[in-house]
Symmetry: C2
Subunit: 202 residues, 2 copies
């Protein structure tokens, strides 16, 4: 039988770890606004279990520097660093189509800052589009809990506007005009493929 | 200006780390037979740079337990564990088709052990097939440096044979008969999309 601490950390029998004294500078990962991610994971699990689509979130890219191999099954990573993702976070296949997207949220209520995206993610989305994939972003306004799907080709317009010296965000009005509102549901929570099905007649 | 240690580890100004005394049980990650992975990464970079396809390796899935946040940019992961992948390692888009594959090698010279694959990876490949994606495995016989591409639907046959109580590996003869040999090239190193293009008339 397995026990978990309330924070989800596994209870393990053995002497206390020596590297946990640095409490002030340590936080448990996974407490920073995971709701959008959790909702999308639940949605993707629903799609998978219902045979609708196969879409997964990619693991967080990590540069592993030091591993303690007490045994094969108890390898402990002792030093690693977060790397910047070179692609979008989510991809998979839906009705024979390659699906590729990124999900971001903002605390802003009047605009969606473009700094949420990285140049190489935008380039990746351009590449996916060029090769016949479907790409989009899911934008969440946290304060009003509004979710919009914006197609990759539309995001590029605002990205290129910024690159040309224009504003560094998409105004809320532009998101409403150009994006597609997704209402929260029960099961699945964020039915983004309903929008994709409609947009691409799938 | 940045400096790197010869092992690629970043040089950082500051006091020496206290957790590096455990040398006997520590090894630097990335020294265990990375050649097939490196060759495929190089191949995928070639495909990307030539506008042939957008295919990436997924990051290694890691369960992060403890992070030291000295500052946003110097977050150090102090405790993490390897998780088992729930999908294949590589995916992307090629000529509008979703591509999904796994790459494995064996030191055996007479057969390819099926223990190289996990049940959920096989299930993932079945799902991808059901949704119209293209899925396959790249099998490498390390001793003879032979590489074969075997389509997912063919791998299933041998997997199901094992599940039915049959042998736990694919014989070399079966790999030769059922798979498609890929000769090592210079650039790209492993031109697996040439085989896919041929098999699917892309």
């Amino acid at each position: 039988m397995e026990f978990n601490y309330p924070n989800g950390r596994k209870y393990r029998v053995g002497p206390p770890k020596k590297d946990t004294h640095n409490v002030k500078n340590s936080i448990t990962y996974g407490k920073r606004g995971m709701t959008l991610e959790e909702d999308l994971n639940e949605t993707n699990l629903f799609y998978l279990s219902q045979g609708i689509a196969v879409i997964h979130k990619k693991p967080t890219p990590v540069q592993i520097v030091q591993v303690d191999y007490k045994s094969r099954s108890t390898a402990v990573i002792k030093e690693a660093y977060f790397r910047q993702a070179s692609t979008t976070d989510y991809n998979g296949v839906f009705n024979g189509k390659h699906i590729d997207f990124e999900a971001k949220e903002t605390q802003n209520s009047t605009s969606f800052p473009l700094k949420n995206f990285h140049e190489h993610q935008i380039n990746h989305m351009k590449n996916v589009l060029n090769h016949g994939g479907i790409t989009f972003v899911i934008l969440r306004f946290a304060k009003t809990e509004e979710i919009y799907l914006m197609e990759g080709q539309d995001l590029m317009v605002y990205w290129d506007r910024m690159k040309g010296g224009g504003r560094k965000s998409i105004t809320k009005e532009e998101v409403i005009a150009c994006g597609h509102r997704i209402e929260y549901g029960f099961h699945p929570r964020i039915d983004y493929l309903k929008t994709i099905r409609h947009l691409y007649s799938l």
